[in-house]
Symmetry: C2
């Protein structure tokens, strides 16, 4: 354990023991550095880790504070999967039957994959759409051989630049959401039968895509806080002809884990050593709770091995279906593959988002969105503490809008799912996140919707159903 | 030869000999029926065929007239390909290098795949976009598990109904343009290595898609007027394990050929007998010049074997990227595959088109568009007569915005393409339309842009270059 991890642990213990109470200010970086005799940068790293773990938060110009729900009764889950042999993926039918049942607008949407549309600036986007369409020349309306709307690409490249990544415009391909970017990326570097390293648990759509492309999954366990197990990954890379990795280094879906910067650098080192390309699915990039934007693995990518996939679907404009990939050395192949499959994303949607990024106050919107999601997380964590049975474990991600719940072993989450649906509450059962249908006693709960009395009652309902197992 | 074909031939001869002059009215159906002693329906069939061949046109309430350019100096090309063995497709690089060079806005766009954006009601669409967005509920903005915007699907189903096709809404999947529909359709019914029957010449994107999916092409020759050779198709279906057909039964790209209704019925008979699904690429459905909308093969489809793919990209809103597939028995599989690849087409674009179809005067726009394309075709045919060398053959399609030119054998269209580009004129050289890079002395010319003095000069330039071979 590094010094900064040790120090973070000490602070975490103080928080868990209640020595540092929720809402309380913790020592400033300077104070802590002097008091504990460690360098300011070590303190800073430790605080960054604690922020990432959801235990503290920074407030601009007033220091670091213990988060309201930081002292919780329920533990965090550990790693709950054993490494297994590469597996054919057969999960689509299960996923579809679960997702189908989430269509009902009257259910409490704890199973939803999207945050509430009410959290997005829809009417402001509509104005941007009107202006964007007015400013398009007729020629620009023809979806011909382009990698995307030039203004939108410029705006995205600008945001990379602010994050410290100098991205040649050529690397950027606009896609129909991140899902298309990920599909194309995988097709660029694999053939049917190839092995692909994915996380376990993993975002169910990645499992569906593997199944569709007849790829085999090498599941790498993910720690709910620290992210993917790099030792196991390295062992697998050394032994198996893995053709691609598909990972979420930040706010991994469903666990919410984020790799530390150091571990991101280590991960990139592995990619480089084994010359394996990586799809970095970073659709929650903007949904961090702390004050520091995360750095993607792409930041370390000096050889163009990382295809960094982003999207506006989770943070700005769900139905516009605009995403992108910063494709590294694969950008030309990605661009051509896109032309052969969908030609181009919808041009009005691109023009609207380009205009919004330039004039719409995107960063102000993002700050509001993050605050809303953080408050909703606190509310859901508190409700889980009140209603869920002892022995339940819960993640506490440093961003996003998902909690991962590990129920006591006796709970069958597929049965729970059906029982809850009957009572008007949805959730995403664990097995849809596994190539091998593991995680039977787990579920993902979304706090992406404003918290209401109805949400509270829904948590109570879940608690009652859980008691019946 | 059927009686109506004989009769059509007699009229065609009269037109070619100048007995019936351009602009002249031809006998009404009743007159002809009485005069030639054949039934009115036979006359009607013959006139429909002549209309399809571009020789006559109907004017509402005033009868049939010889078209202005009907008496032309240049002959139509014949079938110029011999059936060959199933072939691996390797054309993408060539196609991309040609398409890349079409990006230059300053060239005369005879090589373009899209009609001029000035022919589309862009500002009317922008109003529909504004209204469409206003009327979307926030919930509808979440691209979840849907087969498309409900209003848009209703409007499309309505148009099918007016065309005599009762389409269950469930069959309709909205896609990112027809290109996605065709990609998904092919993936639903094939695996790498499978054989797919395509036209020769074929739309180059179909060749790229086959190459990408590692499918083998069985090329079926297309007659420039009558369409695909059904005898050869049947022989191939009998002998080879063809897994799918990908055909354009109407205004085939690049030849502009359309199958007669009778031949469409025969084609469907073959599909049924050999139980082979067909992708019907019908993106030019609305661009017929006559008065009678064409009937797709889908009309005959009582077993759900036809995936009928349509789009608004060529007739209303190029860059919106909204298409669809009426998927027959494959609709559920198509819908799921779409969810795994791009989730959903852009919702604002769908809402805008739905609103436009309901309120925007789509049929009025289409009539204007057809008239513009028809006038532009006449202008291009006339210019070709003036400038192209003797021995050149030209199609005369009954719709759309492409002419297929067969130059004298000595002409190398790839060289012509590069020479013309140097002079600021683009064209689509023949080999990009062939799995085996045939059609070296052929090219596709677009008359999709308003005809100007510059277009005329460009034709003259082509004529001069052709003389140099």
């Amino acid at each position: 354990m590094k010094r900064y991890e040790q120090f973070a642990d000490e602070i975490a213990t103080l928080i868990r023991q209640g020595v540092l109470a929720p809402g309380e200010r913790i020592p400033s970086v300077r104070q802590a550095s002097r008091h504990y005799g460690i360098s300011p940068s070590t303190v800073f790293q430790a605080y960054y880790l604690l922020e990432n773990q959801g235990l503290i938060r920074a407030r601009a110009r007033s220091g670091y504070f213990v988060r309201e729900h930081a002292r919780r009764l329920m533990d965090e889950p550990g790693v709950s999967i054993q490494p297994a042999d590469p597996a054919e993926v057969e999960v689509s039918e299960l996923v579809f039957s679960v997702l189908d049942s989430l269509q009902d607008a009257s259910t409490v949407p704890f199973g939803s994959a999207f945050p509430s549309p009410e959290l997005f600036p829809l009417s402001r986007l509509a104005s941007s759409m009107a202006r964007g369409l007015r400013e398009l020349s007729p020629r620009e309306v023809i979806a011909d051989m382009t990698t995307g709307h030039p203004d939108l690409r410029r705006q995205i490249a600008l945001r990379y630049m602010l994050g410290g990544i100098q991205l040649p415009m050529d690397e950027l391909v606009i896609t129909n959401g991140a899902m298309e970017a990920l599909n194309l990326g995988l097709q660029c570097v694999t053939r049917p039968g190839d092995l692909v390293a994915i996380e376990a648990p993993a975002f169910y759509a990645s499992l569906q895509v593997l199944e569709r492309l007849e790829l085999k999954a090498v599941e790498i366990p993910v720690h709910p806080r620290e992210g993917i197990d790099l030792d196991i990954l390295e062992a697998r890379l050394a032994k198996l002809p893995i053709k691609a990795c598909w990972f979420m280094s930040h706010l991994q879906n469903p666990l919410g884990a984020s790799l530390s910067e150091e571990r991101k650098a280590d991960l990139y080192g592995l990619l480089k050593r084994y010359r394996v390309p990586m799809l970095e699915d970073d659709v929650y990039a903007e949904l961090y709770f702390g004050s520091t934007p995360p750095t993607p693995v792409k930041w370390f990518d000096d050889e163009g091995l990382v295809m960094h996939c982003g999207s506006f679907s989770k943070c700005l404009a769900p139905g516009y279906r605009v995403g992108w990939v910063a494709g590294g050395r694969y950008a030309p192949a990605l661009s051509r593959l896109k032309l052969m499959t969908t030609i181009s994303p919808s041009i009005p949607a691109q023009a609207a988002i380009a205009d919004y990024l330039q004039h719409g106050g995107y960063d102000r919107h993002l700050r509001k969105l993050r605050h809303a999601l953080e408050a909703q997380q606190a509310a859901m964590l508190a409700a889980a503490d009140r209603h869920f049975p002892a022995g339940t474990r819960l993640t506490r991600p440093g961003g996003g809008y998902f909690l991962w719940v590990e129920f006591p072993e006796r709970v069958d989450s597929l049965r729970l799912f059906r029982m809850a649906l009957d009572q008007g509450v949805s959730l995403a059962p664990g097995p849809i996140f596994s190539a091998t249908q593991g995680f039977r006693h787990c579920a993902r709960l979304s706090h992406g919707h404003p918290w209401t009395a109805r949400s509270e009652r829904a948590m109570e309902t879940l608690g009652q159903l859980l008691a019946s197992f």
